[in-house]
């Protein structure tokens, strides 16, 4: 983790300054402006560098051309990455004792609120399940209708026909709740 961070540190500034710092021989690296590999770690070409004088002339012209050709969009993006670098992002929250106590109180109040909401939801579900359960028990002990034997309606009610599959649930049922209603909140004119 430490190595990863230290490698990322100052990524953008490294990228910016690369043309000036690059040795003349590592032309393969300069073609990849977004690489995170350090120049020293990149694979060295096997060929020996050419003579000193020729190399200096070539480097100057190439570097200047590269700076001139750099797309402003790339520059903008690199500056953006520079703002995202670990050096620039804000430090973790630091609070004084009273501020932290206040934060802790707010946090506990939020947990209490969430717990109450959760309990309320569970109670509702339990209520509804109990209601269904009581109705089913009554249905199981019911004879009829007419000449049907006891529990006939219950057995039919327990069947799961048409529950699964493509048309188990109507598509209109997938409507999500919104914060504000539609222009026409309800279609009263719907006809079968």
């Amino acid at each position: 983790m430490f190595f990863a961070l230290s490698n990322l540190r100052g990524l953008a500034s490294r990228l910016f300054s690369r043309p000036a710092l690059l040795p003349t021989t590592t032309t393969t690296i300069t073609t990849r402006p977004f690489t995170t590999t350090l120049p020293s770690m990149a694979s060295k070409p096997a060929a020996k560098p050419p003579s000193k004088k020729a190399a200096a002339g070539a480097a100057k012209s190439k570097a200047s051309r590269r700076v001139a050709e750099r797309d402003p969009k790339i520059v903008n993006m690199l500056q953006h990455f520079a703002a995202l670098s670990p050096r620039r992002i804000p430090a973790p929250l630091r609070m004084g004792r009273n501020r932290h106590l206040r934060h802790w109180t707010i946090h506990r109040a939020w947990l209490l609120f969430r717990r109450r909401a959760r309990k309320e939801r569970e109670r509702t579900l339990m209520r509804q399940q109990q209601s269904m359960s009581a109705a089913c028990e009554e249905l199981r002990l019911t004879e009829g209708p007419g000449t049907r034997d006891m529990g006939y309606l219950y057995r039919v009610a327990m069947e799961k026909k048409g529950v699964y599959g493509l048309h188990g649930v109507p598509i209109e049922y997938a409507r999500a709740q919104t914060d504000t209603p539609a222009r026409v909140p309800w279609n009263h004119e719907w006809k079968a």
Binding site: A83, L93, Q130, P170, Y173, P185, N187, K191
Partner: protein, 306 residues
């Protein structure tokens, strides 16, 4: 339960010659509900907590870089800068005036009575931000010539204001239940649509049929499953000197309620076959005042919180 009844046994008093099928009428009812269309309003505590968290997040987040999102000196850029200046340099639109990086970054509390962070305030600030203030030529548009932003519809509708309980576009953040009025005058009672189950039918078929017979077919409904969600039992009434072995003077009723959902349409009682005279779409609280108490008590457990 159904014992073979022989000729000798029928004469004796002890034999259960009357089955429960003759003592109880079986009925199937449908509790037709319109699910809530709107989310619930956040409580003041929730709104305040979200504002607090947003301001904390401002302290932790990377600063907003205008140059990354807007090309310099374009209309969009000028528009953004104008609005940013009016927000006192705060890029976020919903946190009020708060600078997370200055010397007063600690000062993230809003004053007592402030509306900052409340839903209405957030909506207003977002609408204000959505208005285009700079023309394509880069000129500032004067107040009269700005195109107003389309505002969202209010959460309370016209039917809410009028208190029209027959409309379905009311109480949009709550469940509505269809109740119908049976009979006329003093004897009239409010109830859910329900009808007798004939021998060849089962609960969900009867429920769907009864709904079509009583409230019309112009409703896009769906009966949720075949399992009853609630039941209501009226005990049979026996004449003087009779007991449970004989046929009652008045049969009891077992009503099993299924749950239905309505997706579109409206109830229409014209020509119904169940003697219904009126209908209403009521919320959980309103239905309590309308239904008879023991009837309400037997169905209240199937109702959701809102």
């Amino acid at each position: 339960m159904s014992h073979p009844v022989t000729a000798t046994e029928t004469t004796t008093e002890e034999t259960p010659s009357v089955t429960s099928a003759t003592r109880y009428k079986i009925k199937s009812g449908l509790i037709l509900t319109r699910p809530p269309l709107l989310t619930r309003e956040p409580t003041p505590f929730e709104a305040a907590f979200y504002l607090y968290q947003k301001r904390l997040n401002e302290r932790l987040a990377v600063p907003f870089r205008r140059e990354f999102y807007f090309r310099t000196d374009t209309a969009a850029d000028l528009d953004w800068r104008l609005k940013l200046r009016e927000r006192h340099g705060v890029p976020a639109k919903d946190i009020g005036r708060y600078n997370p990086r200055g010397r007063v970054a600690w000062n993230d509390e809003v004053l007592v009575g402030s509306e900052t962070g409340m839903t209405a305030d957030i909506v207003e600030s977002l609408l204000k931000d959505a208005e285009v203030r700079i023309s394509e030529d880069g000129e500032e548009i004067v107040d009269d010539e700005r195109v107003p932003v389309e505002r969202p519809m209010p959460r309370r509708t016209e039917a809410d204001e009028k208190g029209d309980a027959r409309r379905l576009d009311r109480a949009l953040d709550q469940t509505l239940y269809l109740v119908v009025k049976k009979g006329e005058g003093e004897a009239a009672t409010w109830q859910f649509p329900a009808g007798d189950v004939p021998t060849q039918e089962v609960l969900h078929e009867t429920a769907a049929r009864v709904l079509a017979e009583s409230a019309g077919v112009n409703m896009n409904t769906w009966v949720v499953g075949r399992v009853p969600v609630a039941h209501y039992v009226t005990e049979p009434i026996f004449a003087e000197g009779e007991d449970a072995a004989t046929a009652p003077k008045r049969r009891g009723e077992k009503i099993f309620f299924l749950k239905g959902r309505i997706m579109a349409g409206q109830a229409d009682l014209t020509g119904n076959k169940h003697g219904l005279t009126d209908y209403q779409w009521l919320t959980k609280d309103e239905i309590k005042r309308v239904l008879p108490w023991d009837y309400y008590r037997s169905v209240r457990n199937m109702m959701a919180d809102r």
